[in-house]
Each structure stands twice: as C-alpha cells, then as structure tokens.
Amino acid sequence: MSDFLLEIKNLSKLFHGLVAIDELNMKVKKGQIYGIIGPNGAGKTTLFNCITGLYTPEKGDIIWEGKKINGTAPYKIAELGILRTFQTIRLFSQMSVAENIMSGRHIKSNQRWYNGIIHTPSMQKDEKTNWLKVGELMEFFELSDYATTPAGDLSYGLQRRIEMARALAAEPKLLILDEPAAGLNENETIKLAQTIRDIRAKGVTILMIEHDMDMVMSLCEYITVINFGAKISEGEPAFVQDDPVVIEAYIGSDEDE
C-alpha cells in the first residue's frame, strides 16, 4: 500500500444530530510527529476516540496500514499497534506505578488461559521478561523511584509520564498523545518535547493534540488545524502558523492559550 500509516477519509461523527467531526481527511506518514490543533471543542479528542475505537464514526473510513478499521473494538485497535494517552489522565490510580505500566505489556504477554490458575516455567519466563521491560521503561521515564507508589498519589507531571510509559510498554507503531503538556510547567514541557523526540527516534510514529503552540510548532513536522469538526488548514508548521484562516479561527474564538 501507500507509505501512509494512518489515513482518515471523509470522516464524520455526529452526536444526537450535532456534527462533531465533519468530512475530515488526513494522512499520517510513518515516522512522523503529526500535530492536531484547534480551539476547544473543535472535535480533536472525538477524532482520537474514533481512531482508537471508543466511538464509531457515522461516515467515512479510518485506514490503518491499508486496511479499514472503523468499528473495530478498542482492544483490537491496541493489538494493531495504536496506543494512546488521555487528556483527562486515566491511570489505575490505586495501583502502583509498575503495575500501571505492566498493563501495557498485556498484549505482548503470551500466557495461556490456564496460567491464571497454574504457573508453568515458560509463563514465569514471560512474566519476568515483561517486568524487566517495565523496569526499562521506568528508567527511561525516570519513574524507578516510584515503582511501588500508587499512581494516583503522584504529581500531574509524573502521572502524564506514567501514561506515556504505559502506552509505550505495548510497543506501539502509533502513539496517540492527547494534550501531553496540559498541566505541565515550562521545564517539564521542555523535557516532554525531548522525550517525544526520543520516542520517535525508536521508530514510533506520533500523533498528538496539543494547545502549547511553541511546543507544537517546534516539534511537529506536519499539522492539521480543526475548527467545528472540519479541517481548516494543514501543512508544515511555518505554513500553518501564517495561514490567515488559522489566525482568524484562533483570534475569532476566545483564545485561551
């Protein structure tokens, strides 16, 4: 097929007759850091929920590696290699940091149905491999000191890192980040940008929603701008930044970023 990892074709999503996404088209190349921006309520998170199977779009197609995937159950989407983080952090907050990240290893684990009752040597090996991978990720995200701490007890910035570590644990092809810098301070944001570059360097394609314009413009290679569910502009950061339509959308709406 094409060199596009993910293609969105004429996608529409309605809520009780109201248009949340309107005939949207976009194409994400393998290895790209792709940004989606737009005013609040533009339909960005709805788009992510469609891609990850939480919503079923009314019209159009979501094409993953050349195959149509709309209507696929969320857990199967994850098995395909599309993993995400959430705008409103969704961790297993009573569980420890390590256990949270371990959830990402679920699809990589090859335990059989009876291993929940009886352990076998191969199962124990699988268990160890996965825990070691969790250890590596905790190192990478500087979370090792909090391995047994309940995720919900940690700061916002740390929780965002746990969510990314959890998604990466599943060894995704596409990592979807929903406002990864929200609630972070300036230092944390700079560090996050570097982390995202490091993740891409490992061969992971990144699709992100972000309101922090400095970050988006410096990090993303291609940007789609959405307003009222429809694409109003797309292109490289320099182009989008100077596009009068974009400027108007941001100034026309009450600009809060």
């Binding site: 969704r90 297993f92 256990e99 679920h106 291993n115 352990h119 969790v134 090792s144």
Partner: protein, 315 residues
Amino acid sequence: MRQSYKIAILFLIVMGVFPLFSNSAWLAVGTTFLIYSVVAFSQDIILGRAGAFQMGQAVFFGLGAYTTAILNVQFGVPIIYTFIPAIIIPLILAIILAGPVIHLRGDYLLIATIGFNIIFIQVVQNNVFELTGGPNGIFGIDVVKIFGIEFMSQTAVYYMSFILLALTLWIMRNLDASKFGRAMFYINKDDIAAQSMGINVRYYKLYAFALGSAIAGAAGSMFAIQYSAVSPEAFNVVQSIMFFTIVLVGGSASLPGVLIGTFVMFVLPEIFREFATARYLVFGLAMILTMILRPRGIWPVKFGNIPNYLKKDKK
C-alpha cells in the same frame, strides 16, 4: 514474599491444628467456615477483582452441592467422581448465564444476578426435573470413599475442607501473579483505559465468572458432603448477599480481608449464639460500621505486588 501470603500461611497453620482443640460443635462451625471462605474467595474473584456486581454466587455454590447430591443419591455415583462435574457444571452454566449480562454495569448486573438466584431457587423447590427433591432437598448423601477407606468422621470432612481452602488460596496466589489477575484489576479500576491497552473486557470478566463459579461449585460439593444433605434455603438470595457482603466488609481482593470478612459475618454470629436471634446484630452492625469507617474493607488490599528487582523505592 508478600505480607498477605505470610498471613495466609499462618492462618492455614492455625486452622490446621484447630481440630485438636475443639469439640464437635466447634468442629462443625470450623468446617463451614472453611467452606464459606472458599465461596467468599470465589465471590472475590468476580466482585473484588473483576469488579462485577455478582449478587448470585449462591447459585454456583448450590449447583455444585446439587450436582454432588443428585449424582450420588439419584444415580448412585460415588462421591469422589462427583467432584469434577460439581466444578464443570457451575463453570459452564456461569459462562452461559453471564454471557448475555456481562456487559451490564454495577447495579444493573446486580439485579440481573439476583434474578438468576430467584430462578434457581424456584427450579430446585419445584422439583422441575424430578431430581432436586423439592423444598425438602436431598438427603442421605454418601461419605467420601477412596480405595475402600471411608472418610466419614467429622475431622476427616474438616481436613478435606481444609485442603480445598488451601488449594483455593494457592490458586488466588497464582492468579495475582499472572496477566489474568492483573487484567481483572485493570478492568475494575478503569475499563476504558484497560480496553485502550488491549484488554478484552468481556473475556476477562467471563474468565472471572468461570473461575469463580468453578471454585464455588467445588465448595458446594464439600458442603453437601458435610451435611450429607442439600436443601434450597442454603443457596437463596440471602446467602448470596452474605457472600457479597463478606467481600466488601473484609476487603475486596485482599486475602486476609476475605478471611476476616468470613469470620465476622459467619463465625462471630455463631460465637454469640446464646443471644439467639439478637446475634444477627453483629452481622448488621459490622456491615454498617465497616462501610462508614472503612469503606475499602476491614483489611484493604495493598497493591504494589511487583518483583523485588524493580523496587528501588526509598523504603
């Protein structure tokens, strides 16, 4: 080793020597305590771990008991051969029954499972297949016989129940340290996040139902052996409420919690037996006070069950 496993082993030692120091009446209470603990753990897999509001656990407990009773009394099958069917039948029925309702959330599932329990009691009371003995139940269940040796003494039944509970604790430990046990927790804590991590919510909830019901069935079989009889009222909705409450009062997904819960809800009322029906005050008060003072149970579960080589924390 995790602290809760140490406690479980200590508990097993105490229960192992208990018959040496008790009379016949207390041995009976002890046996039922062991069997109810097994049912409580089976409920805990479904409710405490997978987070499914199953209010009909007595159905699967009863199915196990009735399977042993019917096969033995109506068909003359030796007790020892009724164990496997008493595990398999509840397991299969759990998948068939839970299948269509498993997607229901919280209170909706609770009502549906109460419905199962009411239907189950109706079926056994009305002697539908001429097998269940109606409201009186089935009497005269044989004793366990292995290689011609009869295990008929009260102490023998106690130790059989003891082995069953030890096995159950071993399964709980294995479940906790597997992808299946963890998947249940993930679904319970946030099912949207769990799905997005590739966890098939339906599969793991059904897994919990199947495993929990199989264990409840084994406990039912033992219960039938202990009383050498089965009757409908031992498996009605009130019993289901008790198992449900044991898990929440003791502490969901906590091994010591579930044991304490069973003790508080079952053994304490027996200790206060001389106060006649007023002893159920303990039962009611325990429920109310725990929910107010310790909403996560008397002995809440502690997460962080990870290999030692990952623990680089301060502690």
